[in-house]
Each structure stands twice: as structure tokens, then as C-alpha cells.
Symmetry: C2
Amino acid sequence: MQFTAEQRLDDGVLEREFVLGEIPGVLWTPASASAATPVPLILLGIPPLGLRRMYPRLAARARHAAADGFAAATIELPGSGDRPRWPAVEQARADLRRAMEAGEPVGDEIIDPLVLPLVEKAVPEWQTVLDALLSLPEIGGPVGYSGGVISIGIRLAVVEPRIAAAALFAGSLVPAAIVEEARRVTIPLHVLLQWDDEGNDRQAALDLFDAFGSKEKTLNANMGGHTGVPQSAGDAAAGFFARHLR
Amino acid sequence: MQFTAEQRLDDGVLEREFVLGEIPGVLWTPASASAATPVPLILLGIPPLGLRRMYPRLAARARHAAADGFAAATIELPGSGDRPRWPAVEQARADLRRAMEAGEPVGDEIIDPLVLPLVEKAVPEWQTVLDALLSLPEIGGPVGYSGGVISIGIRLAVVEPRIAAAALFAGSLVPAAIVEEARRVTIPLHVLLQWDDEGNDRQAALDLFDAFGSKEKTLNANMGGHTGVPQSAGDAAAGFFARHLR
């Protein structure tokens, strides 16, 4: 893991850009983090819109996490932002857009080729990055996962025992195979649902919440569309991590 | 309003039993409450199990509210606890029990005679008590309503403009007429749902949440049965009132 840039933000948070192999990312650590007092870590998942575009929201979440005493890190998804283009996934995304614009049902034949390759590639990348992050003396554990593509969060929660708790954004574009995997998730979950999310089917999201195998899971549903998540919902997710990562 | 007993709890909270006409109740005020610094008020709804039986849970909620700087008050429902028996409602309750034990569907013919008379009588009682409470110099506003029989909370939210925000416990034993009233609720709502509530139909509860007319409403759903509400859900409701009553 090579740090390529760093700056100290006004609240004392150290923001470092890094590259690990071909994976670019950003790490935020609170001023209090040191080898003597290593801090828990929250992995910030992002949608496939590119790290640069998502930076303001990610940085705000990371600073909130740092104020609670947690480090936070994010990585660019394969095929997103400045990473090499991924024609197969771009094709699948174009198929999705076409179906949605035509008002056609979005079935497995569109969702699977869009989401499954991303899960297959992104989850091992997160695990490699997690190895590197946990080798830093100022990062301890436990580790939480927050947001981003929900299918990636589900697979990570199943295969990566170092993830202790996850806050996921309910989406309906989840392959049937991943819904099945959700039954094997056992860690505490905090699931955010936007009740009038224009891109997601509410009933599918509720069914997915029901499918999770975790004994401890909370659904936090709020009015509004995909980008209308209220401040209180962000605070609730932060409270969830404060309970589970301390 | 006559105070019939009072005690100062170990956290400085003043607990006073009162009677207003034929309505018994309890008022809790934080040590900080005075004519110079009147405090907001949370009305604590209770199920028809009797104030005495519910006291430990009510007192815990009241002390939590007091720690946040709020007064809290509850009243015995008509026909409950030490109040005169109400044969019609007892008959309706027996009908409900019989239907549930027989595994029969619980329809409007059972729900309406059980719930509607209670709403008709309890809501004006709450309003009378609210008049008296707000005339106390140490109680100011705004006023929140929390818990109890959800149909009473819905009617109060519709007819009582002094209620500024409500935290309701989702139940499915809601008359169709009250679901229609829910569409006219416009105040901020925080709705608690126990995902595996043995006494409630989950889909009916979700439909009721959907029906509320409020632009600002949050569904907080957690695993477990009717009495298994986790501590974090209580904290979330407290956070809701802290945002809306300060």
C-alpha cells in the first residue's frame, strides 16, 4: 500500500490517498489514532459512480466516523472513476438503462451480468485492502462495512469474518443468488431504506431485509427518494457503529 | 388536577400521581423544570393492561425523557387498571382472544368494537389532561405523544394541534376507519415495528406506515416479538423527540 498524497483536514483528521496494486483508495484517520491507541475501522462502500464524484459525501461520512473515534477507508470500484474501463459491465449498465427508460421489468437477465461480476471482483479487492489497512499500526479493529453496492456488502459479510457489523443501503437490484447468500449473514445489520426510492422496488427491499439471517437487524426507512436520506438516518447509522465497533 | 402522592426519585425526577375527574395518572418532571424554565412534555400512551402493571416500563421511559429535559405523563385508559370495568370492551377483548386462540382471521367485526370505543373515550380524556398539564407553570411545550394503543395516537395526532410529533408502536389491530384517518396525519412520525410481532400482521403494519400523510416519517423495524424491543430502538425514539421537541 503506497500513500500518494496526504493532507490534515481542519478537524485534525488525516486524509491519505493510496494505491494498492491497481486499486486506488482513500484512508481517513482521526487525530487520536496511533500505534499506542489503534482505532476501529469502517469500510465505506461506494456506488459505481467514481470516487472523485462521490468524494464530498464520502469525506463527510469519514469525518463523522473520525469524530466517533473510527478510521474510514474507501476504494474505487473496478471499472469506475479513473480505473480501466470494463466493457462487459458497461454493456450491462446500458442494458439496464434501456430497460428502465422503456419501463420494462428489470429481471435477472439484466441484473446478474451487471452485479455478479462486480461482486466477484470487488470483494477480493476489499479483502486485500483490508489486509493492508489492518497492518497499519494506527488501525486496529473491529471492522465495519457501510453503504455502497448492497450485493458487495452482503458477500463481504458472508465471506469475511473480520467484518463485525454492516450498515447497508437497501436496493432491489440484487441477484437472486445474492438474496440466498443474505440468509447466511449473521453479523448485526443496520439497513437503510428510502421509502420512495425511484430506482428500487420497495417490496423487494423489504423481502431482502427479511431474508438476512442476522438475529440483530434494524430497518431504518425514511421518506423520500434515493438521494433524500435525512440527516437523522446518517446519525442512526453512526449510532449503530458506535454500539458495535467500540 | 389533584396531586395525590409525590416522591423525588434518585435521579432528581419528581414523580407525582394525580387524579383529574375520574382519570388517574402520573406526571414525571425533571429537576430542572420550573416556572422560569418550563420544559417540553411527552405523553406516554399505555396499552390496556393497567398503569400499575406497566409502571416499571413507563417510569423507565419517563426517566429517560427527564434526562433529555422533558416532562412525561401517562393516564390510565378507561376500563383499565383500577378504573370502573367496561363490559362492552371486555366482551370485545374476549371475542378477540377467542378468535386468536381458534386461529381465525381477526376482521373488522372484532377490531372495531374493541378499538373504536376506546379511541372515542380516551382521546378527549388525553385532551382534558393536556389542558391541565399545560396550565402547570413548569410545563411548557412542545408536546409529543409516544407509544400505547396506536389508534389513539393516530386520532390524537389528527385532532389535537398541540401534538407536535409522535412515536408510535406499529400494530395491525387498527380499524379501517383509523387507517383512513392516518392519511390526514401530517406531524413528524417515528414508527416502531417489531418484525416478528406475534400479535400483529407485518404487512398491515407496513401498509399503515405507508398510509400516514406525514412528509417526515421514519420506520424503525427490529427483530423479535412484541416485548423484545431492543434498547437501541428506545434510544432512537428518544433521539426523535430530542430533534422535534427542543
